[in-house]
Structures are given as C-alpha cells and as structure tokens.
C-alpha cells in the first residue's frame, strides 16, 4: 500500500558507504598525487639513510623500457621539465576526478538514505557524475596519448641536441596510451541509471496522494 510517509534507511550502513567512498577516493587521489610528484620532480617522496631519491627514466608513466648504455648515467629529472609536467597531467586530472566523483556519490547516497531517491537533486548529481566519468575518462586518455607522443618526439630528436632525454639510452620504448575504458563505461551506465531514476521520479509524482 503506497503511503506518503518517507522511509528512512538504516543510517549506519549509508554512513559506512559514504565513508568507504571517501576512503577509496582519497587513497586513489593519494596514489595519483604520489605518481604526479615522482613524475614532475623525478624523485621519490621519501628517501631515508642518505639514499639517492632520484628515480630512473623508466618511472615515467609513459615509458615501458629505458636502458642506459653501459657506463652512462641518467635519471628522470634529466628530461625537460615541460615534458615531465605533461606526463604528469593524467595523474593530476585523476586526483580532481576522484574527489569530485566521491562528493557527488556521497550526495546521492545521502538523499537516497533520507528516503528521497527520485528527487531532481539525485538525478542532477547522477547526471553530473556520469558526464564527469565520461569527460574525465576521455580527457585522461587524450592527455596520456599526447604525453606519449611528446616523449616519442623528444626521444627521436637526435639533431644537434645531444642526448634528448638527458642521457645515453641504448633502448627506449613507450607504453600504449592508457584509456580508462572502465571509467568511461561506468559513466555510460550512470547515464542509463539517471534515466531510470527520472522514470522513477515521474512514477512517484503520479502516485503521490494516491490512497
């Protein structure tokens, strides 16, 4: 029997879900922040006991293999700064995306837990989340592909610039551009969900006041 009483879900489970979402998002953001730090500054965030914090070129996300010629010395920090920043842009984008997505998911969960699953606010947040995942996913792939291409172009530029990557490398190979297909697909699924919620909202309006 339909009633106009709003049901409150178990708040503890929703609180747990919201906390879990934020924990995962923060961990993902931290991981990406660490990757961005290493990429831009060419060093590990922490180095103890006088260890050399500089990392090898192979730590660049777009590089698959980088072997120095015998006797040569080279580090990630030796490549141009603009190239390091470009290679770090996917990770920087991921930080923003993870935190914004967590914010939107938390708002949706809180509305649903308050017994208001089909409000316009929930639908708008779901749509925003979907477009964020699709847009950020496409941008991430584009940035990574651009960085990948830039690394290739710089590495191939032997001209009069000596060692273009700052050292004498015998072998360098790049990874294929990373496209976050799962993120983009999740966004598409989110769009379908928001359509379902829209239909649910319409149904709720029609049955509101029905005894």
């Amino acid at each position: 029997m339909m009633t106009n009483v709003t049901h409150t879900r178990k708040p503890k489970s929703v609180q747990l879900a919201v906390i879990s979402v934020w924990i995962v998002a923060c961990l993902a953001a931290l991981g990406s922040a660490a990757e961005a730090f290493v990429t831009i500054f060419g060093r590990t965030p922490l180095a103890f006991g006088g260890a050399d914090p500089r990392v090898q070129l192979v730590m660049l996300p777009q590089i698959n293999q980088a072997e120095l010629r015998e006797g040569a010395v080279g580090y990630l920090v030796d490549i141009p700064l603009w190239l390091r920043v470009l290679c770090a842009t996917p990770a920087l984008l991921y930080i923003v995306m993870a935190l914004v997505a967590a914010f939107l998911i938390a708002r949706v969960l809180q509305e649903i837990s308050a017994g208001r699953p089909f409000t316009a606010r929930v639908r708008k947040n779901l749509l925003a989340l979907s477009f964020l995942l699709i847009g950020a996913g496409l941008l991430y792939g584009t940035l990574d592909a651009t960085a990948n291409r830039a690394v290739f172009e710089v590495a191939s530029n032997f001209g009069t610039e000596g060692f273009p990557l700052g050292a004498d490398y015998a072998v360098i190979s790049t990874d294929a551009p990373r496209w976050p297909y799962f993120m983009i697909t999740s966004g598409v699924v989110g769009l379908a969900l928001s359509s379902a919620f829209k239909a649910g909202g319409r149904l709720q309006e029609e049955t509101d006041g029905l005894v």
């Binding site: 029997m1 009633t3 006041g209 029905l210 005894v211």
Partner: protein, 67 residues
C-alpha cells in the same frame, strides 16, 4: 470532490483506528482521505471503506463548486 469520511464515521460510531483495522488501510492513508488531501483513490480502497462502513460512494463523496 469532498470526502465526508469523518461524518460517516461519526454516524456509524466508528473511529479511524477501527476502520484501519477492519479495512487493512493504513492510518496515514485514511487520514489523507479524511482531510481531503488525496489526489486519487483506488477502487480497492473505496470498496474496502464502503464495505466496512456499510455505505455507498455517493454518501462518502460529493462534488462542491470551487470557491
């Protein structure tokens, strides 16, 4: 459309709680009906209420001009 459930209940000497128990309709829904806040009524609801109160829809509802 105006619902005269309160008048019929008074005539039958029945409370809203009793009606809820007899019909299986929640107090919340009966209250919505009684206070003229309902936007639509199911036939099953109407039948259950009329059976319990031994009345007709004509006695329960009337149409009054908009003020």
């Amino acid at each position: 459309m105006v619902c005269h459930l309160d008048k019929v209940l008074l005539q039958r000497g029945m409370t809203l709680t009793e009606l809820s128990v007899r019909t299986g309709i929640t107090m919340a829904n009966l209250s919505i009906l009684k206070t003229n806040k309902a936007k639509a009524v199911r036939f099953t609801t109407l039948t259950a209420v009329c059976d319990a109160l031994e009345t007709t829809p004509g006695e329960l509802f009337s149409i009054e001009p908009r003020t």
